[in-house]
Symmetry: C2
Subunit: 221 residues, 2 copies
Amino acid sequence: MLSTKRPHRAGAGGRTAPPEQRRQQLIEATIRCVAKRGLADTTIATVAREAGLSQGIINLHFRSKERLLTETLRYLADEYRNACRTAAAAAESSPVAGLLAMVDLDFRRGICARDKLAVWFAFWGERKFRPTYRRICAARDKSYDDMVRAMCTQLCQQGEYPGVEPALVADGLSALTDGLWLDLLVRPESMSRELARRITMSYLADVFPRHIRQPVASSGS
Amino acid sequence: MLSTKRPHRAGAGGRTAPPEQRRQQLIEATIRCVAKRGLADTTIATVAREAGLSQGIINLHFRSKERLLTETLRYLADEYRNACRTAAAAAESSPVAGLLAMVDLDFRRGICARDKLAVWFAFWGERKFRPTYRRICAARDKSYDDMVRAMCTQLCQQGEYPGVEPALVADGLSALTDGLWLDLLVRPESMSRELARRITMSYLADVFPRHIRQPVASSGS
DNA sequence: GCAATGAATGAATGACTATTCAATGAACGT
DNA sequence: ACGTTCATTGAATAGTCATTCATTCATTGC
């Protein structure tokens, strides 16, 4: 009773690992598996194999396949929301900096990695039918919307943009980002993170010309 | 051998119907079923029940469940492309009319009905993993892109918009539309076809201010 | 009417998969 | 070393679902 319950072993591949590490390992295997095979062909067996572990491990650490999927979605949502904090911090110096940070974030490698996009869209397809998915996604959406809307509102006050409705711009930016994510996933040959960034910046530059200027357009073929 | 093989019976609910009519009936049942329960919970049994027919009927008229799903996707893609012809016709009088017709089309009731959006996104989630889905979607995307890109190019030539790259605008418009469709599906309480139309028009008005003017913004609550 | 045709049915089949649990063995305290 | 604990395994189980096919029955031609 004196000893502090030490982790059994440090390495990830060990035969026995602390629960939190196994859960993380399985969530990452789930992401790779969904990205490789789609949600429909993702089974307990394929995830376990991807993780290099046995079938039973998933029902041991998560209570069911459904919970594994839910936790995987929650993991991605949390990751996104944590990254948002950086943008929120930038917004404190100026709304423009905040918006630029958001665009940067949305098309940063770690956030819109192909594997993760595949998972997002796999879940979005089922979102309407699973209350749990819906809750997790709605929470993520809300924090995004609130932030971007606040930035746009500030910018409109500073810049005298009479024709611009902040709520509309925020909804538009959110929709544009989602659509570009979809392109990145399903048409990687004609969409890149860099191009997506330029399209988004061009949108913002059109709306807030006195605050945001898009980088000089290089020649398009 | 003399008689022309007549349709067995006219009514849809009859015990015997011409094959083409049964196929159509089953495709419509599939759309309702996917919209109501999601792709994951759409089974041969649920579709057959939705259509008011027996289990075996699907393997009789389509060779497998997979083919039923493929044909359903193809049906939606064809419907969209047919609707595009209207916009293509409008574009012949002027590119502005063409763009307006496209926006009109994308947020018209028949095209972005909730049931159909649910099916689109269900398939988009699996698109990456099924070559057949990919082909059908890619064909639809291409006809959209080609059309919109041509309209934007014409407009840029007519209007002297030095900073505007037609390809970028077309990609952006396409992404924006997809993103708004997603909102219409998963957040109907905060997105309507009318609002989506306004957001899209506001985007176009920002890009082509000398050709497209957005309707006066009514107060946003 | 009557036989022939083939559309439609739905119970039976076989494949697949989530979940369980008895057996295994690694890690730790003594 | 040795026994205890508990993470892990993987074969067995139970359930679901696509597909098949022998049977039923509406329709048509004669």
